[in-house]
Symmetry: C2
Subunit: 244 residues, 2 copies
Amino acid sequence: MSNDSDDSCIVKHFESYAELDENSQQLLLSLEEGPEKWPKNTILWQQGDQSDSFYTLSKGWACSFRDLEDGTRQVLDVYVPGDIVGLREFSFRKRITSVVMLSDAELCAFPRHHLDHIFSSSLVLCSVMFMITSRDQAILLERLVNLGRRSAREKLAHFLVELSYRLLRTNAFVENHLSLPLSQSVLADALGLSAVHVSRTFQEFRQEGLLNTGNAHLELLDINGLQSVAGFDEFYLESPISES
Amino acid sequence: MSNDSDDSCIVKHFESYAELDENSQQLLLSLEEGPEKWPKNTILWQQGDQSDSFYTLSKGWACSFRDLEDGTRQVLDVYVPGDIVGLREFSFRKRITSVVMLSDAELCAFPRHHLDHIFSSSLVLCSVMFMITSRDQAILLERLVNLGRRSAREKLAHFLVELSYRLLRTNAFVENHLSLPLSQSVLADALGLSAVHVSRTFQEFRQEGLLNTGNAHLELLDINGLQSVAGFDEFYLESPISES
DNA sequence: TCGACCCTATAACCTAGGTTATCTCTTGCC
DNA sequence: GGCAAGAGATAACCTAGGTTATAGGGTCGA
């Protein structure tokens, strides 16, 4: 249950935004709970549940989504190892989205009532929290553009390139070809497309040597190629910078 | 330039989330600058500009948007009186979106470097800031659903109903029929539609007695009607609540 | 080891909404 | 007070992507 700061999910995540003094590290550490295993397809929480903690995803993938009245769903975000899940809604009493595991995963909980503690005792942590939510919003804004004004090819390519950038940030080890545990219907639900059309588009991409599709997972073969299909510009992923 | 707390834009806005003690009020007040006039169609800032303050919109309307390579644009959000503009990107060095006035407006600037001051001296202000950004995100998430999974009729109705809720929150005085300074092309760009199709859809809405269109502005006549066209559920607009 | 279920591929067909083009009516501007 | 530019209505036409259906391979639990 107790771990030192080197392998703490949350310390690692925060340090990718700013250096933390010893005090802040200890504070974070003392508030984080140890990792728990969550198998593929389990629901972390559902819309309407009590909202009493957020999590860091130390291993595996997850996504947040909303189910609509007519049976369709909208996937709102995909989370990769190192991401923080649920910070977005931490000041709501109830969850406004649901979250499900896309693969077997490990999560560290961070109870929400500890936040007051953080706000009042560490200025650094407080601004890092803001930076994290800012980056989150930047990603959402870009997703809006993606949904509103791009073609199916562009949507898919853009989404995949974004994910590969996010993966490289925390998982520097990954080599040139990436393997993502995403089914075509998750992608369809994320991008406002039908699963059939995702399949059609992947057919094209395969012929162009951009990627390979497997069973509920896909490999990116040519990220530069995808990037130019998407007209991708990474400016919105640049780390927010504190002014101090 | 100096105003008392009763007519300060930002104090009013913050107090709609939580009661502020005298100290916090004074702190906010001392950091806010007096209102400035910005005429219709002026650009508040553009993507790439230095990001050194955010604003409260005390009078008038504005919207944020992004211009795309192919000449189209995506409107990301519409701001109504009382809203905070630019908080979203305050931890980026540069603006990631542009903002333009949709009507003659008045804004109060709040320089960004004052935030450290706030974080370190008022716990209440700090959590209110988080609540504001949380609500902001909730609205963005709902916009994602709107763009991804709803028909043109639903998109339009949903967007308009959301706006009317947001207006009622701060402008309680407004009677049953609302007048919004929105052109059809702004709506099209916000919802990923073509202006032509917005016009077609408004034609239907007019025949159904839901609204009237004027010149770059429209009147909502039957908000309940629009609400049922949209399948609107206001849960996501509920004020975030602090746990204390 | 069987069967149910999920994931994917692919074909045939269809429609919501995009595009282009005119025309009119305002509005603002010199 | 006249003109250019923006805002809207409407019609004709078109296409990106949705829908439905079928079928094959994988995976997993009993």
